[in-house]
């Protein structure tokens, strides 16, 4: 698509939990501006793959680079890998933003407190500047009126939009979405998807694990279908949804539709 340094590059990623092999060699590249949708059945390893990108799960083998910088890893005694350089890990993580299925907001802080937390505490931004930026991103996600509310007093859709604002506030190189609408009541899914759709339209780099096929088809520039820990098929959304080749993918799309 373009020749810029990839925002996220995954090379031959393996992950096993004990004897269970969840990822069996995945390679994936997201260049700046790419919106990569990752689809697949449950247990296909898509969330695990996403969580390896910011080392919430440590790969068993393989390499991951963010904006050209590979995580420094060292072998563990049980034959896996672990981050070797805590400072590098924190620096790289601070350039990524993750939106979780269960929001994972900090309940003891207000909406504004949640959004300024990382800029102030991790990026060292002056508080005033962080507040000003937080108000901008809250405006973007439609929560300008809610800055003093606590997460528990808001709907799931509002909480997830706040979580997206928290990510936007750090201006990440890439946004990672881990099934962002799966925990929402059906009537609240739309408001969150609208926000993500707008961000995708701005060509922000994102990797999006989702069950919302229609949405993936609309917003993704590239779709990846995972099956049993491998990428079974990938391509532009028209091809994946319009002309799927693998029988598994054909069946998967039929079962969703």
């Amino acid at each position: 698509m373009n020749n810029a340094t990839p925002a996220v590059e995954i090379r031959d990623l393996h992950k096993h939990f004990g004897r269970l092999e969840v990822l069996k060699g995945i390679s994936l590249t997201a260049r700046p501006g790419d919106v990569v949708a990752v689809i697949g059945g449950s247990g296909s390893g898509k969330s695990t793959m996403l969580r390896c990108i910011n080392m919430l799960e440590t790969p068993s083998a393989g390499e991951i680079a963010i904006h050209g910088e590979a995580y420094a890893m060292r072998p563990t005694r049980d034959g896996g890998l672990e981050p070797a350089d805590r400072r590098q890990l924190q620096r790289i993580r601070a350039q990524l933003g993750m939106v979780f299925q269960n929001f994972n907001l900090w309940p003891h802080r207000t909406v504004l407190g949640n959004v300024i937390e990382v800029p102030v505490q991790v990026l060292g931004m002056p508080r005033d500047e962080a507040v000003a930026r937080a108000r901008q991103v809250l405006e973007r996600v439609g929560l300008a009126e809610k800055e003093d509310a606590y997460p528990a007093h808001m709907s799931g859709g509002q909480q997830q939009r706040c979580a997206i604002a928290r990510v936007l506030a750090v201006e990440p190189l890439a946004m990672l979405f881990d099934e962002p609408t799966s925990a929402l009541d059906p009537e609240l899914v739309g408001e969150v998807l609208t926000v993500i759709r707008d961000l995708a339209a701005e060509r922000r780099t994102m990797i999006l694990v989702t069950h919302e096929m229609g949405f993936a088809r609309d917003v993704a520039s590239h779709v990846v279908y995972l099956k049993d820990g491998r990428i079974e098929e990938q391509g532009p959304p028209e091809q994946i949804f319009g002309d799927p080749r693998s029988p598994h993918l054909q069946q998967f799309i039929r079962s969703i539709a």
Partner: protein, 239 residues
């Protein structure tokens, strides 16, 4: 009997015992507050050691809480006080220094703090485990250092879970000070006993002491309720 009570015995200045009683009461509050704070610090360290420490730290914390919670408090206090000071003096002697005389207040605070720390470790450990892991994971995912995660997320998020247990421990601390009477601390209970024995007005003085303990509890309740309201800000009303 009640109408025969001579309330002038409670006067603040001699021959009344009121002043002595109040001084004993303040001593009790000092002991309780100091011991409680020390216990809180030990509890935070103990809980982090148990949850995040390596093998050795975990084992040390495990043995500490086991012993503290297995042995009656009175025995622990006698043990810490007599054996502890004895050991300390022997140690100083072995290093060629003179034995030191630990002042009563510090020794009392140390004894109560060590006992409280054992229980506080478990209260705080449970409270930390009640924090949904996703909140900690989110902080890690944004690049927070482990220490910052602890300070900015884990500790504030566990506080509402820890408060009921820690409030209990405060109440226990205020009353544990009375056990120190056995070792000869002039705290409220010992002073009361002396006053009662000297005047033979047992009923009057123990009622007065009881009322002072009650007052401390009532005032503490107000403070604890305020703390709990503050710590639960942002949490659903019923949980």
């Amino acid at each position: 009997m009640i109408d025969a009570m001579d309330f002038s015995l409670l006067a603040l200045s001699s021959p009344g015992w009121g002043g002595a009683l109040l001084a004993g009461f303040l001593r009790s509050v000092e002991l309780a507050a100091g011991g409680y704070l020390l216990g809180l610090v030990i509890g935070l360290l103990g809980a982090t050691a148990k949850l995040y420490g390596g093998r050795v730290l975990r084992d040390i914390a495990e043995i500490y809480t086991l012993l503290i919670r297995a042995v009656p408090e009175l025995v622990l206090m006698l043990l810490f006080y007599y054996v502890g000071t004895d050991l300390l003096n022997k140690l100083m002697g072995a290093m060629g220094r003179e034995g030191i005389d630990i002042d009563g207040l510090s020794a009392g605070i140390l004894v109560i703090g060590l006992v409280q720390g054992g229980y506080a470790t478990e209260v705080i450990r449970g409270a930390i485990r009640a924090v949904p892991p996703g909140q900690i994971e989110a902080a890690q995912a944004f690049g927070m250092s482990p220490l910052k995660v602890l300070r900015r997320v884990t500790l504030p998020a566990m506080t509402p879970h820890a408060l009921p247990g820690m409030a209990n421990l405060w109440m226990i601390a205020t009353k544990d000070t009375a056990l120190l009477a056995v070792i000869g601390f002039s705290e409220l209970t010992l002073v009361t006993k002396q006053a009662a024995a000297a005047t033979r007005e047992y009923f009057l003085f123990f009622i007065a002491a009881g009322l002072l303990y009650l007052a401390l509890t009532l005032i503490s309740n107000l403070g604890l309720r305020w703390l709990e309201r503050r710590a639960r800000r942002g949490l659903p009303a019923a949980a």
